[in-house]
């Protein structure tokens, strides 16, 4: 009886997550799609002007899309090399004791609220970026990208380290037996062996960078021009939603447009996560023989 009861609860809990997910998708579609009756998809995606409170309003999300792209590229370019190097060090070089202390600390980094990261970016990083690159302002896509790199590092390190450690020890032994050095073993054996896991780690990190809101809202600068370089102030898609939803009339055009941006973000992150999931699955099967 008790067993049944608990099983029932767990079943319900599992069902609930699916119901909530479906609900979110339906809501996004219902609120977001009607904008395309007003603004054709072509103009919506490739329009470069976003004036939601003017008469008549213009909704072009190109500036936001390009901003998200820049911020994500900067974040990935910084976090991937550092993340993989750190994971390789932890899994292949560091003594067990060190790894066991460092890894939880790195994972703790993932728990920092994004507002805190935003503050750090605002107060510490933006003056540094401004003087280092001689920019008119430190509030730029570059600053936001660097902060996002810090935020996706824990995921990348943690998942890649797991992948590296999943590479069977015989591979390393065989490599050493052939006279390879430690570096050659890491570079030619361990990393290629764990490549699918590392790819998944990178995708998860990218997904985090795309979806992050508070930090980019605070440090990316929020300009509405299509950014031609990452050092310009810009407003990524998440920030556009956050800064516009407050005065959007429920059911109004701006409200629909913001939901449509949400829909695009959802599709983007869903795609990235699906790829990551696929690749991780393959990694698991690879060493299961």
């Amino acid at each position: 009886m008790g067993e049944r009861f608990i099983e029932g609860w767990i079943y319900l809990a599992g069902l609930l997550t699916i119901v909530v997910l479906l609900g979110i998708i339906i809501l996004l579609l219902k609120e977001g799609l009607p904008i395309f009756f007003d603004t054709p998809p072509w103009e919506f995606f490739f329009g470069t002007h976003w004036y939601p409170v003017s008469e008549p309003p213009t909704f072009g999300i190109m500036p936001f899309f390009v901003a998200t792209l820049w911020v994500t590229i900067v974040a990935t370019a910084i976090s991937v090399p550092i993340g993989i190097a750190c994971a390789a060090y932890l899994s292949e070089v560091a003594p067990d004791k060190l790894r066991e202390t460092v890894k939880p600390v790195i994972e703790l980094l993932a728990g920092f609220p994004s507002v805190v990261m935003g503050f750090i970016g605002l107060i510490l990083l933006s003056p540094l970026v401004q003087s280092a690159f001689n920019l008119p302002t430190g509030l730029s896509g570059l600053t936001a990208g660097i902060m996002l790199a810090f935020m996706s590092l824990p995921i990348i390190i943690s998942v890649s380290e797991d992948a590296l450690r999943a590479v069977p020890d015989e591979f390393r032994q065989a490599s050493y037996a052939l006279g390879a050095t430690k570096w050659e073993t890491i570079w030619h054996v361990c990393i290629p062996g764990a490549l699918s896991g590392i790819t998944a780690a990178v995708m998860l990190g990218v997904g985090r960078a795309i979806g992050e809101t508070m930090t980019v809202l605070m440090v990316a600068g929020g300009a509405l021009a299509v950014p031609v370089s990452p050092t310009e102030p810009m407003m990524p898609m998440t920030a556009a939603i956050a800064s516009g939803i407050g005065n959007a009339v429920r059911g109004g055009l701006q409200y629909q447009a913001l939901f449509a941006i949400g829909l695009i973000l959802f599709v983007l992150t869903l795609f990235v996560n699906l790829v990551a999931d696929r690749v991780l699955e393959r990694q698991k099967r690879k060493f299961q023989r």
Binding site: H49, Y51, P52, V53, S54, P63, P104, E107, L108, A110, G111, F112, P113, V115, L122, I123, P127, Q130, P136, T137, G138, L139, D162, L217, M218, G221, G222, A223, L224, A225, P233, M235, A242, S243, G244, G246, N247
Partner: protein, 306 residues
């Protein structure tokens, strides 16, 4: 190894949750205060206030405090805009109209035709500072220059008498009523001969989510310019003297210049009622004008009447 790993993954979200919950509860603490009900005859009833988006934050605070003191009174506040508020007053669909502009003569005529006698009470004053970094050589600007800066026409400080440095023009995001006020009164130069309703903020303008963030950026960035409310003035930023036109003298913002009307980016915040207010509406407006009510004006970031 397997077990250890799963507990670890459990702990991280848990820590995040704790952090978030602590943060949120920390934020919420300030607003839950219980005011003891006032003495005297108990007021009851309900009325609504419609109008300016800019006055809404102040009205909301007053309405909250007033209903705390008189639990049987309920006040509905909405802020679609001054024009809507005045139309509602004319059509007798609101009890109080909150407005950030004075009623126009044509509107008074319309009201009188509908048997409504607009009665004006100034409840506070609103002044916007234009601040730059103290290292900036510029000390005064005309409204037209500000407009050109915010439309993106002027992009270098040397064009307005400063150093050869790019201008980083900072605005509030579209959530803010100030965004719209500044757009109408400065960018579009409302009420000046050069008024142009087609002007918009330029696309290179930084839209920041809070006034505090804008001020702190100006404090550390010698190229930045921003427009906070009077309450946000700190020593690390320099307020500019504003000239209505190139021929006028520059006026520095202060409570005094905002009150006597010489500072150009200041305006009265007004309540309109149909005839002289009576009953609970009078009690409410009296509260707004009382020392206690006016103390809230400063808290919300506007200029009190005295």
């Amino acid at each position: 190894m397997q077990i250890k790993k799963s507990t670890k993954w459990f702990i991280i979200p848990l820590l995040t949750l704790i952090a978030v919950v602590t943060f949120i509860s920390g934020c919420g603490d300030g607003s839950t205060d219980t005011t003891t009900p006032a003495n005297g005859t108990e007021l009851s009833g309900s009325f609504n206030i419609v109008g300016s988006n800019t006055v809404t934050p102040l009205t909301t605070v007053w309405a909250e405090e007033f209903t705390n003191m008189h639990p049987k009174v309920s006040i509905a506040v909405s802020g679609p805009g001054s024009g809507v508020g005045i139309a509602a007053l004319i059509n007798s669909t609101t009890d109080i109209c909150q407005a950030s502009r004075t009623i126009r003569p044509t509107e008074i005529d319309q009201a009188k035709a509908n048997g409504v006698e607009p009665y004006e009470v100034q409840v506070a004053t609103d002044a916007l500072l234009v601040v730059v970094n103290p290292a900036n050589l510029v000390s005064e600007l005309t409204i037209a220059q500000l407009s050109a800066i915010y439309t993106g026409e002027i992009t270098n400080w040397k064009e307005v008498g400063g150093n050869d440095a790019p201008i980083v023009a900072i605005a509030r995001d579209t959530n803010s009523g100030t965004h719209v006020f500044f757009k109408e009164h400065v960018v579009q130069m409302l009420g000046l001969p050069t008024e142009d309703k087609s002007l918009e903020y330029g696309s290179k303008i930084l839209l920041l989510p809070s006034t505090g963030e804008g001020v702190s950026e100006v404090a550390k960035n010698p190229n930045a310019i921003f427009y906070p409310g009077l309450g946000y003035l700190i020593d690390e930023v320099k307020p500019l003297a504003i000239k209505r036109t190139a021929d006028d003298a520059g006026v520095l913002p202060s409570v005094a210049t905002a009150l006597d009307g010489t500072y150009p980016i200041a305006r009265p915040l007004l309540y309109y009622t149909n005839g002289e207010p009576t009953g609970i509406i009078k009690a409410f407006i009296d509260y707004c004008l009382s020392a206690e009510g006016q103390a809230k004006v400063t808290e919300v970031g506007y200029v009190p009447l005295k």
